[in-house]
């Protein structure tokens, strides 16, 4: 049942990402908590959402260029982490999150390849619409546009739960076998968080962005430290 839920959420996110609406619901910051909520672990999704969003802030579909499929990656990572955390009885910890991104992160790159294949496949829909129009069936011709959402849904609905299932089997096995890895992987997740913030700042391509980023980071840390926010 869990994997069916993951399939539906990942499939809908794939549609929202490009085919319909584009309302940020398939962005990692929203999608990871949605996956967490659907699987009964909202806090786990909220732990993953911000770093994944910052990491893929520059993943933007401009013109005919294709970015990594951040929605597919985020859905698989979130599902893998939540299901692993449940299996371990710990919830999503930084160590679980680190292993989830390690095992499921490449799906975003694979998603770029599947997106390109889908765009090639959609040429058939456009051709078929022209044929139907020539035959005098304008309504059927226009329905072809909606059929374009079927394949993105199906691909994400198949890939996200499959990768999550493998990761949700590997992660608990690794952490049960090597419990001493928990703390070091927490450090690894911390490094990923710092890098994600840098990737986000780079994505803005602002001339003054680097200085603003550095200043804000230091000022936030200093103010938080002085205010006793380091907890």
């Amino acid at each position: 049942m869990d994997y069916l839920v993951v399939a539906v959420v990942a499939g809908l996110a794939a549609v929202e990402r490009k085919g319909f609406l584009q309302a940020m619901l398939s962005r990692p910051v929203a999608l990871a908590p949605i996956v967490g909520l659907a699987l009964g672990d909202l806090p786990g999704g909220l732990l993953l959402g911000p770093p994944l969003e910052l990491l893929w802030l520059g993943a933007v579909n401009m013109g005919a260029s294709l970015p990594p499929n951040e929605a597919l990656g985020a859905a698989a990572i979130a599902a893998a982490a939540v299901l692993s955390g449940r299996a371990l009885g710990t919830g999503v910890t930084p160590a679980v999150a680190a292993l989830a991104i390690l095992l499921a992160g490449t799906l975003a790159a694979l998603g770029r390849a599947t997106d390109r294949a889908i765009e090639e496949w959609n040429v058939r829909l456009a051709t078929r619409a022209e044929v139907l129009l020539d035959r005098g069936s304008p309504r059927a011709a226009m329905r072809e546009n909606l059929y374009g959402m079927v394949l993105p849904f199906a691909v994400s609905a198949a890939l996200a739960p499959a990768v999550a299932a493998v990761a949700a089997w590997v992660i608990p096995a690794v952490l049960r076998s090597f419990p001493a890895l928990n703390a070091p992987l927490g450090w690894g997740w911390t490094a990923v968080g710092g890098l994600a913030a840098a990737a986000g700042a780079r994505a803005f391509r602002s001339a003054r962005g680097i200085g603003l980023f550095a200043g804000a980071a230091v000022a936030t840390f200093a103010v938080g430290w002085l205010a006793g926010g380091a907890r």
Binding site: L46, L146, A191, I210
Partner: protein
């Protein structure tokens, strides 16, 4: 003949499916024809003329999915005149061809490189500091703003036709995009600081320093055009190694 408001709303709803069948040959052509179809049905009672109009909107088209709403509205503006015999049948196509490039550039620059990543960073910081209510609030504000802009552009395109360019210029979107990019960089810095503080709380001052070091190194390495995912794995590996060293160091004391 003018299009009834209910049909215009239907066309706008269909604009949200503009990229449903994005393809390598005609790009958003099928989505554009799908969106404008209800208006063409109103304008052309003769099925032959309607099919002819639909066919001209199956020509290659590509624009930003938000700003394209202005072109859909403007194309209806021109189709009304074609149906009334005031313009040649090529006028809507010429309108689309002239505007799609500039409006794509404006949309990419403002929405994709400014507004959406800004709200992405805002939602990330909000979630880190305040939890899910901040995330929901950020998404609500973004979508209210973006849907209002999409609808306003569609309506301006329909009402003013070619003059939609003037309306769009008045919004000064490139200037706003520059401000949003600066603001977004600040938000990413705040996120780095908040995550470093969280790491100090969980793992000690060393982990906080690691988060800031990763942020600094990330800025440099990604500036040298390093690929993102391998860099993530490198950060994960080095961070984990630092954690092992910290554990050994603590164990030895």
């Amino acid at each position: 003949m003018s299009i009834p408001p209910v049909t215009l709303r239907r066309v706008f709803w269909r604009c949200l499916f503009l990229q449903a069948a994005w393809n390598r040959r005609g790009m958003q052509n099928l989505g554009f024809a799908y969106a404008i179809d209800p208006a063409l049905r109103r304008l052309y009672a003769d099925p032959g003329k309607r099919n002819e109009a639909l066919r001209r909107h199956l020509a290659t088209f590509n624009c930003h999915p938000y700003t394209a709403a202005a072109i859909v509205g403007g194309a209806i503006h021109h189709e009304e005149r074609v149906a009334a015999g005031e313009e040649p049948t090529g006028a809507p196509l010429a309108y689309k061809q002239v505007l799609q490039g500039p409006l794509a550039a404006v949309g990419d620059g403002f929405f994709w490189a400014g507004l959406r990543p800004f709200f992405g960073a805002l939602a990330a910081v909000g979630t880190l500091v305040l939890g899910w209510p901040a995330l929901v609030a950020a998404l609500l504000v973004y979508n209210t703003l973006h849907l209002w802009l999409r609808w306003s552009l569609f309506r301006a395109g329909y009402r003013t036709g070619d003059a939609v360019v003037v309306r769009l210029a008045a919004l000064a979107l490139p200037a706003w995009a520059a401000r949003l990019r600066d603001g977004g960089a600040v938000l990413c810095g705040v996120a780095a600081g908040v995550m470093a503080l969280g790491a100090v709380g969980r793992l000690g001052i060393g982990a906080g320093a690691l988060a800031l070091l990763a942020a600094t190194s990330g800025i440099v390495v990604l500036g040298l055009r390093a690929r993102l995912l391998p860099t993530v794995y490198a950060a994960l590996g080095l961070g984990t190694a630092a954690g092992v060293v910290a554990q050994v160091f603590r164990g030895g004391r």
